[in-house]
Symmetry: C2
Subunit: 77 residues, 2 copies
């Protein structure tokens, strides 16, 4: 199985959701990407359908927006 | 590990999220509750902190609101 990708921006909601997702799915099955720091991946996230963070893009390509930390526009600043 | 509980109301967003969550976590680790049909569990969901469905309550008691299908008020009708 390919990995899911968890996009976040370091916000408190993001950190909490990251812990839960890793507990549930397993760290080895999730790539964690901080798009506030790794800004060249903002476009990649948006192209995958991510509208806000935290969000998990599954191996099927579906986007699960988990709670709400910040919009992509906010992260872009 | 105790189970997570996935609350939904049968909406298209809920069904899609349910498939993803079960793929990611494993069906044996998730109890799926349709609060549109099993209405006596609406209070239980709300007491757990669920504000909208679909939502996953983790074994730690944290609530992950996944995408947005319907508010609890909408489900209550």
């Amino acid at each position: 199985m390919s990995k899911s990708v968890f996009y976040h921006a370091g916000c408190p909601v993001c950190v909490s959701a990251e812990h839960e997702v890793i507990n549930l799915i397993g760290a080895e099955k999730v790539e964690v990407v901080h798009i506030g720091e790794d800004r060249k991946r903002i476009d990649e996230a948006e192209n995958a359908g991510v509208k806000s963070v935290p969000a998990l893009v599954t191996p099927n390509g579906n986007v699960l927006h988990i709670n709400f930390g910040a919009s992509i526009a906010d992260v872009r600043g």
